[in-house]
């Protein structure tokens, strides 16, 4: 029921409130005497060269994509883990059946991971 989530809502509200308060507190209380050197982007004492928004390498996209695939895999494993005891209580055959289903699923995704490793997709050169 929704009432079970009240602690979660309170925590989210507190987190949001704390973040907004601390961010705005500095803005209101801090003295502001900017000059050219103070507002310059910090680059370890050097004068900044070029923009910070360079184009990313497409390799990062590959890592993000693989992350999403295995994120979704874990999402699907969660219901299996939660309900395994229920299936076992119903019958050992049912528990074995759902385990075969999830293991097959993991194996299918394992092919993708193996392919990525063999092709050197996870190496940065």
């Amino acid at each position: 029921m929704l009432t079970d989530f009240i602690p979660l809502f309170i925590m989210m509200a507190l987190a949001l409130g704390l973040a907004l308060t601390l961010l705005n507190l500095g803005k209101f209380l801090g003295p502001k005497r900017p000059n050219r050197i103070k507002t310059m982007a910090y680059e370890s004492g050097m004068d900044p060269v070029g923009t910070a928004r360079e184009r990313y390498s497409v390799k990062f996209y590959l890592v993000a994509m693989i992350f999403i695939v295995f994120d979704v895999e874990v999402v699907f494993m969660y219901p299996w883990a939660v309900s395994f005891q229920e299936f076992l209580a119903a019958s050992p055959g049912a528990a074995l059946g759902v385990t075969v289903v999830i293991v097959f699923f993991v194996l299918i995704l394992g092919i993708g991971l193996l392919y990525d490793i063999k092709k050197g997709g996870l190496e940065f050169d």
């Binding site: 990313y56 219901p79 059946g97 289903v101 699923f105 993708g112 997709g121």
Partner: protein
């Protein structure tokens, strides 16, 4: 009670965030509006007793999918949106296809509405959204579609590798 109030509050914020995403000129703030929208939709799932879907919405969409979106924005390095070009045949074709898909969705929804049970008890509704109910259906009756999802994710992994590892010409 408090649930309908929460539902409409979240719905209003979700629509506002969606409009903010559409009208924002900066791609990164557009993406952040979308995060707010996805959070609100997760809240809507919670008010509808679908806890599992609600939490997964936050984990997968607001977490992983938005990371991918931000990666793509940084990959393309869009500082501001390019000005809109004049209407060409591709835009017209896209519009027609989108309208056909919309008509199909509306038709399916309209024809499916009659099949829905008119009244659902609160206890029945509360028992449908948790993970074990989903597991009972997903791993038994829908085991084959579930494995097909696995193949789909495999295709995504391999496709991303093919695109990213392609040697520059």
């Amino acid at each position: 009670m408090v649930t309908p109030f929460l539902f409409f509050l979240l719905a209003v914020v979700a629509v506002t965030a969606a409009l903010g995403m559409l009208f924002s000129r900066n791609p990164v703030s557009s993406a952040l509006w979308l995060v707010l929208n996805l959070f609100c939709i997760a809240g809507l799932y919670l008010t509808l007793n679908a806890e599992f879907i609600g939490i997964i919405q936050v984990l997968v969409y607001a977490g992983a999918i938005m990371v991918l979106f931000l990666f793509v924005i940084m990959l393309l390095n869009l500082s501001a949106l390019p000005t809109l070009e004049s209407l060409d045949w591709k835009a017209v074709a896209g519009f027609v296809v989108a309208m056909v898909v919309l008509a199909q969705l509306v038709y399916m929804l309209a024809s499916g509405l009659g099949a829905l049970p008119t009244t659902i008890l609160a206890e029945q509704a509360a028992a449908t959204g948790d993970a074990s109910t989903i597991a009972k259906e997903l791993f038994t009756r829908y085991a084959l579609p579930f494995e097909v999802i696995g193949v789909l994710l495999l295709v995504a992994t391999i496709g991303a590798l093919m695109l990213a590892k392609r040697k520059p010409i």
